[in-house]
């Protein structure tokens, strides 16, 4: 028969101080782990959600990023004619020739300069991308020195209100609107018309990359191969999702650091939890003997104490997660290792993060609880009663 759970709960309440201190220790460990997982979850979201499985990115053969060189303009018409490309309401193929350049903007709070991605897109550029929302103002118009900025750029840099003049490249650009791209890497960009951008950065005779929107996923895959196989082009196509997946590698050092920190703190916490449980067992040795006399089996006693340890850890996990909640949505930046420009993302508590945190704590509780529980069950009844 199992020992009632209330026995454990009431014991924990009885030793409030000890319970609280141990739970807090575990909470700190969980907080650190949650913080690291939130960072990674936010980064993954920023990169992965940027890719649209229907979009095919075309780059010069061998090039790994949109920044690394381009190809001649005469290849664009060839791309337009490829089969499997979706069309807009006028029947024009959804193909956008683009230039991505990096511009330096000073931070609003004056703490240095940041590399920001400026994207010039063709007339179909906005139709190629879905999930775009215009928060304020209007899109840039063609032939004008106009740009739209993302919400996060608007929040972090000065001169980014609608109607402001933003200074970069060869001269001021009028900000006509603010857009929201749903938490993707596009949310760290400034957009304008491709010819204007090329003109500003002396790149009139070429384009940097092209985006093709396929009608469906099968045609998207086919397009990737068609681009690569076409001898006239000497270009390479890849799904936009693949392109951004590669960039999540920017998070690798953080993940590596996270493992070291998480593991070290977890081991420390396991020892602390074991300590508390040993104390809990020591205080109760007479109680445990009494339980045995009443007829509870060794197994039940082991179970009961392991359970108490896990409960302690769960308490810590709950405290840790609750304490980290205010950080949810806090935005921070990292640099894209491919374009050297800043990508802004938000820390996110996802269901996965919570799940892992709880699991992490349960494992700590289990490991910390087993040895003391085993010790408790093995003690001689008579000796314990005499204590």
């Amino acid at each position: 028969m199992a020992i009632p759970i209330t026995y454990n709960v009431r014991n924990m309440i009885l030793r409030k101080g000890l319970t609280l201190m141990t739970a807090l220790g575990i909470a700190l460990t969980v907080m650190t782990a949650v913080f690291l997982m939130m960072l990674l979850a936010g980064m993954r979201k920023a990169f992965v959600s940027s890719g649209d499985p229907l979009n095919v990115l075309v780059l010069r053969k061998g090039s790994t990023s949109e920044l690394a060189g381009g190809f001649t303009k005469d290849k664009l018409p060839i791309l337009r004619e490829l089969p499997g490309i979706a069309r807009d309401s006028h029947g024009d193929p959804l193909v956008s020739g683009e230039w991505v350049v990096v511009v330096v903007l000073p931070r609003k709070d004056g703490s240095g300069e940041v590399n920001v991605t400026l994207r010039g897109m063709g007339p179909q550029g906005l139709d190629v991308r879905r999930n775009l929302k215009l928060v304020e103002g209007q899109w840039f118009s063609s032939g004008q020195h106009e740009v739209v900025v993302s919400q996060s750029i608007h929040n972090r840099f000065s001169h980014t209100n609608v109607g402001d003049m933003l200074d970069f490249g060869k001269g001021p650009w009028k900000v006509t609107g603010i857009f929201d791209a749903g938490g993707s890497a596009y949310d760290s960009e400034i957009w304008g018309e491709v010819n204007q951008v090329a003109d500003q950065f002396n790149r009139q005779n070429a384009i940097g990359s092209a985006y093709l929107r396929a009608t469906d996923t099968v045609s998207a895959d086919a397009l990737v191969h068609r681009v690569a196989d076409d001898q006239r082009l000497e270009l390479e196509g890849m799904l936009e999702t693949t392109y951004y997946e590669k960039q999540t590698q920017s998070g690798a050092p953080i993940r590596f650091m996270g493992y070291i920190v998480g593991l070290t703190m977890a081991i420390g916490s396991i020892f602390a939890a074991a300590n508390t449980m040993y104390a809990a067992v020591a205080y109760r040795s007479r109680e445990i003997a009494t339980l045995r006399v009443i007829g509870f089996r060794k197994g039940s006693i082991v179970m009961s104490f392991v359970f108490e340890s896990v409960l302690l850890a769960l308490l810590g996990a709950a405290a840790g997660i609750v304490l980290m909640l205010p950080f949810n949505g806090m935005s921070t930046g990292t640099s894209n290792s491919v374009t050297f420009s800043e990508v802004v993302f938000s820390l996110r508590i996802t269901l996965g993060v919570v799940g892992y945190a709880v699991l992490f704590a349960v494992v700590m509780g289990l490991i910390g609880g087993v040895a003391p529980a085993w010790g408790a069950a093995r003690r001689e009844i008579l000796a314990s009663l005499r204590d």
């Binding site: 101080g17 000890l18 201190m21 141990t22 807090l24 220790g25 700190l28 460990t29 907080m31 650190t32 913080f35 960072l39 010069r60 053969k61 061998g62 090039s63 790994t64 920044l67 690394a68 060189g69 350049v101 990096v102 511009v103 330096v104 590399n115 002396n202 920017s250 050092p253 953080i254 070291i260 920190v261 070290t264 703190m265 081991i267 420390g268 916490s269 020892f271 602390a272 074991a274 300590n275 508390t276 040993y278 104390a279 921070t332 930046g333 990292t334 640099s335 290792s337 374009t339 050297f340 420009s341």
Partner: protein, 384 residues
Amino acid sequence: MTLARFVRKNAFRNKRRSILTVLSMAFSLLLLSFLMSVWRAFYIDQGSAESAQRLIVRHKVSLANFLPGFYREKIHTIPAVVHVIPVNWFQGIYRDAKPENFFARFGTDPDEFFDTYKELSIPADQLDAWRKDRAGAVADAALAKKYGWKVGERIVITGDIYPIKLELTLRGIFTSTQPNNALYFNWKYVEEGLAFAKGHAGTFGILVDSPQNVDRVAKAVDVMFANAPEPTKTETEKGFQLSFINMLGNVKAFIMVISLAAVFTILLVSGNTMAMSIRERTREVAVLKTLGFRRQTILGLFIGEAVAIALLGGICGTLVAYPLLLGMSQAPQLGGLFLVALREWKYVAPVAWGVAIASGFLSSAIPAYGASRTGIVDGLRHIG
């Protein structure tokens, strides 16, 4: 029995608890000293004396933008500049795209390279051979050892940023006082093979005649090109390296937050143990008082015990941090960084011990104060 002996005996009367506490604190302090070493390597270390005399010039907008090649001659006209050489990040792929086959490859100028990077040394005949062969290359000894390269080895690097296949011949192997792990070749090879690379450089390395002139030269370079179509940004070698670390995000705050969490954990663990152990001994405290020990002495006994345990944990933690850093410094990519962190360890260890002592003191002060104030009669009646 002296008081010190009394403290020592008490600290280990419950061996299991003391060992668990020491281990728990050791892990927190291991983390703390590890992070602090890395922190110092990032933000305190100024690099070698040679490195402090060098500047790196890059395009102000981004590393992905090129600088015109003629900037080299213009920079050379600035007083106090001794050497200017192109140091161009080629990237590319050797064998395959696996991370373990990745190492730094730079295009540079063989004529002045070893004069600028004085901490690298190469046999004179090998240097001569490199200067004579446009498709020649030199590699760090550690790198050559890793791949088993000998002088005369053919090394093929397939370009990605630069669409060109480099078919290099290893002409020399250099040794270095600092971890280097890079391959250098003649930049002219790329310039001749690629139209868009001709007359362009990614970054320039400058050797300044003395450390005092470094800041002045850096400013002079940026002022020189401030209104040119391709403005520059000039930083010390260390600053340049730091900008890569800062790309990861706010690393400074990141390390700070985690260190803080580690310190709090130490406090909690230590406090917890002392609370447990003092509570058990309420009756003994009363006995000590009956024997005539003063309150201050009793307070001191408990605090001494906590400090002793914490310090032991601290020493264990920092001693483990050393081989850990040593192991990391052998890593292929970030190894150099951890080698610097290893040098910083000797400054960090005493600080970690200080943290241990302080937390032992703080965590025991309250329970010890409570115990020292308990009335004798209450204490003797206490059932623990």
